[in-house]
Subunit: 342 residues, 2 copies
């Protein structure tokens, strides 16, 4: 049996047999690559995101280096807040909003966003990509989860504890719910746009869920992400939910309506599988810091992860996005180790 | 049955019956209090830590406001790296080291630290405190866990992923082990010093353990913290291990040799109790952000936590330290809600 990358990836998402596990890396296009930094030196981050030709160029860069099975469109989870006028600025230490969430008016402004129009550049990038990547590769579209987007909007930037969003939810649960559900509707529109433009898989990133207590995950994050998946249930592509804080929220996240759970490294793959049963495909969850270590250790870790999953219903990936200090040859060692499993 | 605060706290640590659960808050002396900021305006952080009279003054401040059952000496987990010459500087965004860990020489420098001499100011503060706090209150001494101290030393400051420490451990496991064990020995000396000076309880803070995978927790953090508790096993006081990342590492941490596990809010108390059994006393784990919410909600959350634990073998506390934005009246509402359980 020999499969194309797309066949391999879609089979893993459906828990069907594969010739070897598929592999890609979150943020595989990014600052750790010198060729990315060259493009970035000439253009602002938003220019790159909004210009399909530039987005396609940086999306293709890792595909020239590594035998990954999938590309993910170069974009940003914050395109939805940006479209409603939050004023997203990328600086050292992460993105900040020049207009953080202030209340009722912002909920109305969010409802007014016409995703097909305001975020047409995302669809444009996906469409151009689907024409330019190798026809056998899989293409991911993505969006931020409502909780994570609300966190950025209310905190005004990265936060260690989401204290402002939590304070809002504790004091005015109705407003928090309307913000989260309003975001869910736009996120669903954005995912649909990407599937219509040619995405083979869609992934929702709940990057800040790990900062919630189990009770707050149930009260705030889960209903909103369920709403997203309910609204795209008709789309004929696998749907992935990425979750940081898998050790806290795994079994609840498995009820969100996604086909695949992409998990961070807070829990072992075999433990996750034991909790969820063998029917739930998993994506993840190598610690990105492992790619700083010796290559023979990387190979052992990959083999151990394959053993933990039995190699089935598993998409090899990191537990979170690649960070700038990771050496490209560590990434190559990781991808090659997965390919060698075949 | 009416108990003094110390009796109540020690009984909870021993899983014995109490008239009501004891309560205190991590970092209850700190910047959220205006009277703390007044002292801080006149003195540097290190002056406050190193001058027993100042340390005692700020330790006593929350005791004048709240009906907490325990004080914790005002000090810092980084006194051990400071004593070996790491050059700890407190700035916005957390402490940084002017001389981060560089290798063999630093391990030798660590071994040369004479805790009784270099850190006599910690003993001095505990001794002065034991004379000045209400004689019925319990007094905590504390230290940083080896993994957490090594993280600060190798990263040179706060880190989101401990990538440098992990890279060191992957490339040179023997050096990482010697650093961690060297720290364990000094941490044990520091705990002993505080018990000899009058501390009723000792707590070890593993604040960064949550950034490790389960496998790295077993390989790096656990052996070192076990060494700490083994070396203070003879001390006739309850020993507490604080752990961030309880959802990932709980059952392993329970084998470290502590009497009580102090856990963050990544797992519910009833879930933790179900995993550990009723014999393991727990401390924690209210989300500090709850103290930003309405007071009636705070009361409900406290009652829910009491119900989860059955009120036995439980020391009410936060899941992590108090942060500057928390309103003092939210802290009061929290403490009063625990007192009302009696």
């Amino acid at each position: 049996m020999s499969m194309s990358s797309r066949e391999r990836l879609l089979a893993a998402c459906r828990n069907q047999p594969v010739d070897r596990p598929p592999v890609w890396l979150m943020r595989q296009a990014g600052r750790y690559l010198p060729e990315y930094r060259e493009v970035r030196a000439k253009h602002s981050f938003w220019e790159m995101v909004r210009t399909p030709e530039l987005a396609v160029e940086v999306t293709l860069q890792p595909l020239r280096r590594y035998a990954v099975d999938a590309a993910i469109v170069f974009s940003d989870i914050l395109v939805v807040p940006e479209a409603m006028g939050a004023g997203v600025v990328y600086g050292k230490g992460g993105p900040t909003m020049t207009r953080p969430f202030e209340g009722e008016d912002d909920i109305a402004r969010l409802a007014d966003v016409d995703v097909a129009h305001s975020l047409s550049y995302v669809g444009g990038a996906v469409r151009l990509l689907s024409e330019h990547i190798h026809p056998e590769l899989a293409l991911y579209g993505f969006a931020g989860a409502p909780l994570t987007l609300a966190a950025y909007m209310v905190e005004g930037g990265p936060s260690k504890d989401l204290r402002n969003l939590k304070a809002l939810a504790y004091r005015d649960p109705d407003m928090a719910r309307r913000l989260l559900f309003g975001l869910a509707d736009k996120v669903a529109d954005l995912l649909r746009l990407q599937v219509e433009a040619g995405a083979d898989v869609i992934q929702v990133f709940d990057s800040w869920a790990g900062l919630l207590t189990p009770d707050d995950y149930s009260a705030l994050a889960l209903p909103a992400v369920r709403r997203v998946f309910a609204r795209v249930a008709d789309l004929p592509v696998p749907k992935v939910l990425y979750l940081r804080g898998a050790a806290s929220h795994l079994t609840k996240a498995a009820t969100a309506g996604a086909d695949v759970l992409s998990i961070d490294q807070s829990i072992r793959l075999d433990h996750a599988r034991a909790l969820l049963g063998p029917e739930v495909p998993l994506q993840g969850n190598m610690d990105a810091a492992e790619l700083l270590g010796p290559h023979d250790r990387i190979r052992c870790q990959v083999q151990d992860q394959a053993a933990q999953t039995g190699g089935r219903g598993w998409i090899a990936n990191l537990g979170q996005g690649l960070v700038p200090d990771i050496p490209p040859d560590g990434v190559k060692a990781y991808v090659d180790a997965v390919v060698e499993l075949g």
